[in-house]
Amino acid sequence: MTLLHFEDFRAGQVYDCGAHEITKDEIVAFARAFDPQPQHLDEDAGQRSLLGGLAASGWQVCAIGMRLFADGLILKSANKGGSRVQECRWIKPVKPGDRLRLDAHVVETNISRSRPDVGFVTFEWRIYNQEEQVASVILTPILGRREPGGA
């Protein structure tokens, strides 16, 4: 398989990274491990919260975004890792049975000034639910290797 390199990315591109349907068991298991607040563990507590029902931890939404981005793009590219997230917005609660789909938009590309063998590709992850509502948006620059001998 030919890996994607920095030169393959252009501002304006959109990569469809697939979807994941989240179950109640997954939501509760993640919450028990990392975010044991009542609205992530219990339906009644969720109803009483601003979320309006049992909802996934925002950190789990990020983690699922990472998984979709990895399977959809990163594992097919000459990636050297991410180092930062400029902004993450949790917009809609994610409920059991929601189908989360990730589109990765290329916002900009920059060649590293200090390291000419790499460049940054800034992606905006847009995570949609099954009703095509944006549940979360995450802006993150990823370090990508440049094509050897590339311009």
């Binding site: 975010d35 607040q37 925002g58 950190w59 990020c62 983690a63 890792g81 902004e87 917009i91």
Partner: protein, 147 residues
């Protein structure tokens, strides 16, 4: 704790957490299956020179410690957040490393759209055993107002 009771500059240590190889691999298999997060042998040949935790794992452990601190009284956590800003993974987190997490209130303002709520911003950090900064971000949380 109410919005009105929260003071800018209030800082709290959230405690320490040691990352094991098993946990690093289990998290990454589920959510971030890049070779340097799941395969110790392949990781040796990566730019990191060994297995490292997913950055989302480092972040999720912050939440775990934050909830524990809140349940113990003191730290502010509203339960609902609109997101975060400027998350930085500055140093790799390797198996056996112990990180010490902290949170500090840096900003508060009432919400115009939801008068029953205020928005709190916090600076959150994790440091390694030498006190070096490994991870940081600006968190946001909604907190109920008295009025």
């Amino acid at each position: 704790m109410w919005f009105e009771d929260i003071e800018i500059g209030a800082r709290r240590e959230l405690g320490a957490y040691t990352f094991t190889q098993e946990e690093i691999i289990a998290f990454a298999r589920a959510y971030d299956p890049q070779a340097f997060h799941i395969d110790p042998e392949a990781a040796k040949h990566s730019m990191f020179g060994g297995l490292i935790a997913s950055g989302w794992h480092t972040a999720s452990v912050w939440m775990k410690l934050m909830v524990a601190a809140r349940d113990g009284g003191g730290a502010i956590s509203s339960g609902v957040s609109p997101g975060f800003e400027n998350m930085r993974w500055l140093k790799p987190v390797r198996p056996g490393m112990t990180l010490t997490y902290s949170t500090e209130v840096i900003e508060k303002r009432p919400l115009r759209s939801r008068p029953e709520l205020g928005l709190i911003k916090s600076r959150n950090e994790a440091r390694d055993e030498s006190g070096e900064l490994v991870f940081s971000f600006i968190g946001k949380g909604f907190v109920a107002r008295k009025t």
